[in-house]
């Protein structure tokens, strides 16, 4: 039996003294009734034949001991102590003043307490018996790999021939749009040609001239596009700038680019 579920509920009558019951009690999860039950067991009698007077004495001794040790007892313990002291005194006194007040006879009160202890005792035994049973996932195990019921989908499927055709055509169209056709190779304006072109028109670039006016115009529809002419011309002009033949400027990001040939006798390195 594993310890996990096996609280030590058996207060062994031979061994348990009040002090031990006291310690158990101060675990903090039991009440005065539990203490009374523990004490009652030390009497080694059937709970029905319990001496309530004796039990009251035991309990009062327990409370006394607790106070001597400076343990702060919860209010319930003290209420129980005073009630038991009262019950004990009534049990011991001869019943001379019968009928006085509306209180039940002390014997009935004592029997009621014994009954309550019995009830609690029954529950504690129930716990023990329950814990002694084979428990699921501790002692007994169900199928480790149950076969979940398979839900077989209905045989009926909602798909028409039209949908099938439509699905086919749709993706063939998509396929067509995606297709790469090597016949449409883009012609580019070669960098070499752009450089030659720039050198050729250089004499006309005495003033700042916008790039798109410098780049050649496409003539052949099969030839390079305007964008290609412009891009290649720009690249070539940058090379000429590096060589010191041209200047290029742009006033702001994305603004027009201007080209101008560098004046003769004004080598870059001599500019003050």
């Amino acid at each position: 039996m594993s310890d996990a579920f096996q609280p030590n509920l058996d207060f062994n009558a031979e061994e348990v003294e009040e002090r031990e019951a006291f310690v158990v009690d101060l675990d903090g999860y039991e009440g005065p009734l539990h203490v009374l039950l523990a004490l009652a067991r030390t009497q080694k009698v059937d709970l029905l034949k319990l001496s309530i007077t004796q039990l009251a004495e035991q309990y009062l001794a327990f409370v006394h001991e607790a106070r001597r040790r400076n343990f702060a007892l919860a209010a319930d313990y003290l209420v129980m102590a005073s009630w038991l002291a009262y019950l004990k005194s009534r049990l011991l006194l001869p019943r001379t003043e019968k009928g006085k007040g509306e209180e039940p006879p002390a014997e009935a009160m004592a029997a009621a307490l014994a009954f309550r202890l019995q009830k609690l005792e029954a529950m504690r035994k129930a716990v023990e018996q329950l814990m002694a049973r084979p428990q699921l996932k501790r002692d007994v195990f169900t199928r480790g790999d149950p076969e979940a019921t398979v839900i077989v989908p209905s045989d009926r499927i909602d798909a028409s021939l039209y949908e099938l055709m439509s699905a086919y055509v749709t993706q063939r169209r998509r396929e067509e749009a995606r297709r790469y056709s090597p016949g449409q190779r883009v012609e580019a304006f070669p960098l070499e040609a752009a450089r030659d072109w720039l050198r050729e028109i250089m004499p006309r670039l005495a003033d700042w001239t916008p790039l798109d006016q410098v780049a050649p115009r496409p003539e052949d529809p099969e030839g390079p596009s305007q964008a290609s002419y412009t891009a290649s011309t720009l690249s070539a002009s940058l090379e000429l700038v590096k060589e010191g033949a041209m200047d290029i400027r742009q006033t702001a990001p994305f603004a027009d680019l201007y080209l101008k040939r560098r004046g003769l006798g004004q080598p870059l390195e001599l500019t003050p």
Binding site: S2, A4, F5, P7, L9, Y29, E30, G31, P32, L33, H34, A75, D76, V79, M80, W83, E103, P104, P105, A108, M109, A111, A112, L113, F115, R116, Q118, K119, L120, A122, M123, R124, K125, A126, V127, Q129, L130, M131, R133, P134, Q135, L136, K137, R138, D139, V140, F141, T142, R143, G144, P146, E147, A148, T149
Partner: protein, 222 residues
Amino acid sequence: MSDPSFQPDEAEIERRVEALLFAAAGPLSAAEIGARLPEGADVGRALSGLRARYEGRGVELDCVADRWRFRTAADLAFMMSQEREEPRRLSKAALETLAIIAYHQPVTRAEIESVRGVSLSKGTLDLLLEMGFVRLRGRRRTAGRPVTYGTADRFLEHFGLASLYDLPGVQEMKAAGLLDLSAPVGFELPDPSRATGADEEEAPLLDEDSPEFAQDFVGEER
């Protein structure tokens, strides 16, 4: 698919019940089993046949919470170290509370506290509810309409009990009056834990008496 004209004999019915119970992820009621068998199949007979067949084997047929399941034999627990789950530790207070609920249900919080003589700490009932051992059953028809608690099927499944009648010692306790929630006449034990403890004469709860119970809690029942 099965041939509908085929009329299975007893042995075949037993085979089928065996297959269903083996494959099931949880206990099955006789009605659930019957729904999957041909009309007129004697489920009870098949179940008792199976129970006898598996008696003493490594796997046994068990009735829990009125449902049937196969489980490993209790004496082989020591072998099952790999399958064992770390049990959730229940405190003494929680165990006692569980026992009180099991034996006295439907029972209110105040009644649980009265048996134990201590007030219930907040977490105790929550834990039992969360573990699925305890469920809300309804409301008592008394002032304040306190909620009553009872055990859930999972409690019976966990402890391998066919029904609440099979709780250990329940008949003896009942005979001795120990499960009676009303206190003996003139019983005036001080009870600091029970602020509202004066009203002992609560009517037993009848489900039909409290339609809002059905609304509130029936969804929690399995």
